[in-house]
């Protein structure tokens, strides 16, 4: 089902995840192709966000969570969810954009500088340069270049989300995780974010959770359909939306449930 010729950036194998005693993910096998967008769709509570948050070990922030199986990241073949791996190292390589825009209560400049500062970058020339670069990549530079010292809260919702993308890009991640990044945005802001994601394919591998099936169809190369903690079907996005192999997938994308 996965074209072997394409290069993988990461792959989960036999991945299960538990919130305490509750199993939220069951034996997930999901390959992520390098510099492409993989979308996760499925009804609420199916585990797609849980799966996304395994990739940067966000679950480690809360007690009693448990991973089983592996998520291998290439080219170095490291198992992300291995206990011996420091989640900090993973988060240095894999960035994340959240459902609700969550800029820090700081200036636009400091929001982007944050990820560099925590890595010990102090030099203003480097910071300035990275901030311009990241804002440009996030299609926000023109709107913000004259107001970098203003509070990030002065930006509109869509701008804030692009700021969050710029913040994630500033540290040069290999992968980006998007957790329903447009669910709090209006259609115009949404389409800007979607364009941005498509443009970013040149540089990073992306995994995106979305409730919006049209969005998955528009921007992703691969789509995984999840239900009740299982990955029901995974294939090229075209295939999933035109000719899904499983009955369940077809019912979901045609809107019969979910």
């Amino acid at each position: 089902m996965v074209a072997n010729s394409e290069k993988l950036k990461a792959e989960t194998k036999g991945l299960s995840f538990y919130y305490g005693n509750v199993q939220a993910l069951k034996d997930i096998r999901l390959p992520l192709t390098e510099k492409e967008v993989t979308a996760l769709i499925g009804p609420s509570g199916c585990g797609k966000t849980t799966l996304l948050r395994c990739f940067n070990r966000m679950h480690d922030l809360y007690p009693h969570n448990k991973y089983e199986g592996e998520i291998t990241i290439f080219p170095d073949n490291i198992n992300i969810v291995d206990r011996g791996i420091d989640p900090l190292d993973i988060r240095m390589r894999i960035g994340m954009v959240f459902q609700k825009p969550n800029p820090f209560p700081k200036s636009i400049y400091e929001n982007i500088a944050f990820g560099l500062r925590v890595r010990g970058v102090r030099k203003k020339t480097i910071l300035d340069e990275q901030i311009e670069k990241s804002l440009t990549r996030a299609a926000l530079w023109e709107e913000t270049k004259d107001r970098l010292q203003e509070s990030a809260f002065n930006l509109s919702g869509g701008q804030q989300q692009r700021l969050c993308i710029a913040r994630a890009l500033a540290t040069g991640p290999e992968m980006l995780l998007f957790d329903e990044p447009t669910s709090a945005l209006d259609p115009i802001a949404t389409s800007k974010i979607e364009d941005l994601i498509v443009g970013l394919k040149e540089e990073v591998t992306m995994l995106i959770v979305t409730h919006n099936m049209q969005q998955a169809a528009r921007i992703s190369d691969w789509t995984g359909f999840m239900m009740l903690g299982e990955l029901i079907e995974f294939d090229k996005t075209d295939k999933i939306f035109t000719n899904p192999a499983k009955k369940l997938t077809e019912s979901y994308i045609t809107g019969r449930f979910g």
Binding site: M58, M92, F98, F104, V118, R119, S151, A168
Partner: protein
């Protein structure tokens, strides 16, 4: 039917309104009463002179100074301890654990202990066992313990008020826990913590019982020259003037004057807290 409901509504509204007005009135009555009596003696010289003629004349400078030192000392000790404890309890510890439940019970119980008990404790431990004697040091430490639960709670509330999405955003870009706390959580909660500090300053300045056996003396001409000096303090000065001495007609006005100074001091500190809170609310948009 409709009318009966409307009357009930009006009745209730007025009961609520009257309660609020009663609170306001009692505040102004206290203030008015103190002002009328206290202003008779209040003057610049009252603030900067030492007491004379067996406490029947002169000013309250040593008591003002004593209260200042005791309060400052208490805050210096209590503030870091409380903030560290609150950070640990809120950001690090697993809240459901047995230890943390015990810590929470301890903090809540400490908050409910009558202040005179702290005074006795301070006397037994700081004055006697540690041998600090009746001194600024012993008094400050005693007040500090009294302030701890208040400060811990205020700090915890300020930390809880920081949305978790800020923490997640910080971790997601690769920050450590301490970086997250130092660069995101503390700046966002600083005004709230500060409000707690200022309120506890008011508390520290106004307490009598904890310093009664640990720090103060009714009367001393000497100004404190070290942290081991005993001092005068405003609240205890009032107590002393009202219960000791043989010239009440001269002492009572001084007590009112002292009370007015104390209330104004506490009030101005609370006002600072209110102003900070207002500014905080303006900034806050999350």
């Amino acid at each position: 039917m409709v009318k009966a409901r409307a009357i009930k509504e009006i009745l209730l509204l007025n009961i609520l309104r009257l309660s609020a007005i009663a609170i306001m009135l009692s505040f102004f009555i206290i203030l008015y009463f103190l002002a009328v009596e206290g202003l008779k003696v209040l003057s610049i010289s009252f603030l900067i002179e030492r007491p004379r003629a067996g406490m029947t004349e002169g000013g309250i400078m040593p008591a003002l100074l004593g209260t200042f030192y005791l309060t400052l000392g208490a805050i210096i000790v209590a503030f870091p301890l409380a903030v560290f404890t609150a950070i640990y309890m809120t950001e690090y510890a697993y809240t459901q654990s047995k230890t943390m439940q015990a810590v929470r019970i301890a903090v809540n119980t400490l908050a409910g202990v009558p202040s005179v008990v702290y005074g006795l404790f301070g006397f037994a431990v700081f004055v006697k066992v540690f041998g600090f004697g009746v001194s600024i040091l012993a008094g400050s430490l005693t007040i500090a313990i009294l302030l701890l639960p208040i400060l811990i709670r205020a700090t915890q509330e300020a930390l809880f008020a920081v949305p978790n999405s800020f923490r997640e955003a910080s971790f997601a870009v690769g920050a450590t826990k301490w970086q997250t706390i130092r660069m995101v959580v503390l700046p966002a909660s600083a005004p709230g913590i500060l409000t707690g500090v200022i309120l506890s300053i008011s508390r520290a300045a106004g307490e009598t019982a904890p310093i009664m056996f640990t720090a103060v003396t009714f009367f001393t001409i000497a100004l404190p020259d070290s942290i081991f000096s005993e001092v005068m303090a405003l609240p205890y000065h009032i107590y002393g003037l009202m219960t000791e001495g043989a010239v009440p007609e001269k002492q009572v006005p001084i007590a009112y004057g002292t009370a007015l100074v104390l209330v104004l001091l506490v009030l101005s500190l609370s006002l600072t807290a209110i102003i900070i809170r207002i500014r905080l609310r303006k900034q806050k948009k999350w």
